[in-house]
Symmetry: C6
Subunit: 77 residues, 6 copies
Amino acid sequence: MENWLPSLITATPTEGYDLAIKLARMTIKKTQGDADVRDRLRPEYAENADSLIAVSAVVATHFATVAAANGYWQSAE
Amino acid sequence: MENWLPSLITATPTEGYDLAIKLARMTIKKTQGDADVRDRLRPEYAENADSLIAVSAVVATHFATVAAANGYWQSAE
Amino acid sequence: MENWLPSLITATPTEGYDLAIKLARMTIKKTQGDADVRDRLRPEYAENADSLIAVSAVVATHFATVAAANGYWQSAE
Amino acid sequence: MENWLPSLITATPTEGYDLAIKLARMTIKKTQGDADVRDRLRPEYAENADSLIAVSAVVATHFATVAAANGYWQSAE
Amino acid sequence: MENWLPSLITATPTEGYDLAIKLARMTIKKTQGDADVRDRLRPEYAENADSLIAVSAVVATHFATVAAANGYWQSAE
Amino acid sequence: MENWLPSLITATPTEGYDLAIKLARMTIKKTQGDADVRDRLRPEYAENADSLIAVSAVVATHFATVAAANGYWQSAE
């Protein structure tokens, strides 16, 4: 996998949130390298409330990092 | 989805808390794009104590980020 | 719901801890709006060790935020 | 309950860790006010590996707060 | 085990993310020293959505640390 | 238990990681004081993928604290 994460800096909080989702998903990709298995697992969590909440928790942690990296986009206000 | 998160800055801690809830929910929306499935899942967590606590954990993490972004609303005291 | 969170500033760490508990509970209230359902769920977590530990985790995250907002009550020492 | 948490400042990291454990336990006490129920729940988590790990996670979050409040006891080195 | 973690500094965010994964895995290695057991456990989590999400949560916490250590790679932008 | 945690300062990140593991384990020891019970619980988590991941999460939180205490070992680079 090439340089998929060139920077934590994003133009807006919205883009920062998308980056947090990408950061959360990348661990899955790097831990389960087989795309077929990942596809098979998708309904297991996308249709399960507790799994979706758990994904949301991971995104929250990454969003905290991305937000700090961007100085909370203070100047974007 | 358009620019749904223009800023992390809110006028009051109360509004900051509401933003944290929005941030927690948005991952669910972006991971499970089908509104019908989401509606079906709602009672699964809204009527389950452990799921509600898990949602509360996600909101806590996001609230930490929003509070830091707002300098903890020190001047609002 | 009116302005239930006017400030994160508290006079003492003890009051800050109580605020953290309030912050943890508010998500439950806002996610499950029906007070009857919440009353029904209460024994489900109040008499379950793992649920109580999970609540404690949420309070810990909020307490970190409240403590930071109050400069860790350094001058209260 | 009186002013059980007068300060987050401790003389040593060891005492700070004990305070973190106290902070973790206090939520249980405040959420389940009945001491008999708490006594009944104790073996449920004290003899269960996953519960003990979950308690450890809560203590870790509180210890982070206590450590920050004490400037990581840098001068105690 | 020799000095496997000489530094938290990485050249890029991408390498920092890989380091976060390494940090997450090392606890498993140090807690379960038997490589055969670890190999046996691998499908248990690599083919389970909730386990993969849990791994992702650990990586997120470590990535926050690595990112802070690197000043969020601000100059790499 | 005597002064088991004299300082959060370590010479290297590697030693800091070991300290984080010690911090994670100490809660187990202090919550379950009976060494025989702890020995009995050990295979329960050391041979279970989800338990090992949960331990890894606790270590990650403690490592964040230890790393911050050490200024991320910047000069060790």
